[in-house]
Every structure is written in C-alpha cells, then in structure tokens.
Symmetry: C2
Subunit: 118 residues, 2 copies
DNA sequence: GCAACCTTGACATAGACGTGGTAAGGTTTG
DNA sequence: CAAACCTTACCACGTCTATGTCAAGGTTGC
C-alpha cells in the first residue's frame, strides 16, 4: 500500500489511532484512502502530524484552537468579521456628547416600559 | 458616574452581569473602573458588547474562539507558528523516493527494538 | 443611615472537548 | 481460511466552558 496504515502512523507520530481519527474529524489532517477505505498516511501527513504535536505543546493550545484558525483562514467572511470587531471603534454622530448619549442609554428601558403601558 | 454600571450595561447590551464579568476575564472587554472599583461601561464598551454578541451569533463561534483570535493577533510568535504549520509542506532530501522513505518509517520501531536488545 | 447597588469568590450544572474503550463487520495476507 | 488488520458507531469519563446563583462585605444616594 502506498502509505502507512493508521496504527503504523500512530507509532511513528506519537498520536493514538483514536486521536488520528479525531484530528481528521477536526479537518486538520485528512489522509487519502485506499479503495477499501483504509486511511493511508504518506510522508506529508506524517510530517504534519509531528509538527502539529509540537505546535500544540509549544504554545499550550488545543486542537479546537487550530481548527478555529483553519476556519479563519478558509472563511473569509468570518475572518473579516473578527478582524472588524477587533478594530471597531465607536461609530456614532460626533455631535452627541458622551454624557447625553449615556443618559439616552440609561433611560432606554424606561422608555421601553413606557411604550409597553402605552 | 461617567459610565453605566454593570447592571445597566447588562440591560442595554443583552448580556447578563455575570457574563460581562466573564467577557472581561477573557480579556475581550475591560471597562475602566471607578475609584471604588465599580466597572464603568462607556459608549465604546457598550458598542463592542453589542457587536460581539452579533459576531458570536452570526458565525456560531464562542468566546473562547474570539479569545484565541485575540491571542493570535497579540502573540506574533504564536501567529507565525500556526501560519507556518498551515503552509508547511514536506521538507526532506528530494533524492529519497517516497517508497523508500515510507519503508524507512515503517521499519523504524523494529530498528528501535533491535537497538534495545543490542 | 438605610436601601439598592457594587465587588470578589465560591458552588453548581449542562454541554462540549479530549481520550480511551468495545462491538459488528469488511480487508489483507500468508 | 484464519489471524491481524481496518472501518464506523457507540458508551464512558474527566476536564473545561458558559452560565446562574448565593454569600460576605464595601459604596452610593436620598
């Protein structure tokens, strides 16, 4: 076969077979399959499995974090939205001073209640 | 006071007071404090709380995810490491064909065992 | 000064994450 | 064909996340 099977790959990478399937389910490393459906880990997959291990250990992050990073780099809209949130500053008419704006905020639910009994 | 207190902020943003403290503990939104230590939410914090809420709902992500994104943008080393992992391709002498490399991998633990009884 | 707020810290819980097992069934190989 | 693999689909369990609630004590405003 043109690659290591899951148990062999587990031995050379330090992951358990169970975790190799889990890593795959997270979309991080998806080895090609044999005609019968066996996972076949080639040099590239093995290499990435080892470096993934180091990445997690070195920075104290989890598979879910890397999965999210993957989502960030694949889903442009998500990336932009997150980026926008970090960058966002207050956007509101410059002619309303903070004090007035705060009062408005503070009285909002009173206005809402008033509207209800109206 | 120059801002909304935590319960007022909760009312206008849709978060619970408990969650506002939690969001703060995640490093996402840290309102300034009054001399006595009261959290004071200004226009900027309120705005960001509302958009944070939308960000999570719109994309089905969690606070932890946004926290990780924050880490990514603050910790350059982490960002580079994650980036490098996604980009990594196999790096190994081009003159070793896959088949040989795989055999080498496959027999690694047998060699290790042999070394042990040596 | 008292009622109504705020603070931190602790306990509680439902669901998700990380990980290991096991069972039922198909594949490979000597 | 039998042993030793592989597959998916579950069950289990400790830990973490997200959230609520409560207690003990300080602050504020009328």
């Amino acid at each position: 076969m043109a690659g290591l099977t899951i148990n062999e790959a587990a031995e050379t990478t330090g992951w358990s077979p169970r975790m190799l399937r889990y890593v795959e389910s997270a979309g991080l490393i998806e080895p090609p399959r044999s005609p019968a459906g066996y996972r076949l880990y080639g040099p590239e997959e093995l290499q990435r499995l080892r470096t993934l291990r180091l990445l997690l250990e070195d920075h104290g992050i989890g598979l879910g974090d890397v999965g999210f990073a993957l989502r960030l780099r694949r889903d442009t809209e998500l990336r932009d939205a997150v980026e926008a949130w970090f960058e966002a500053e207050v956007t509101r008419p410059a002619d309303i001073p903070d004090s007035a704006w705060l009062r408005w905020e503070q009285e909002k639910h009173q206005r809402l209640l008033a509207a209800l009994v109206d």
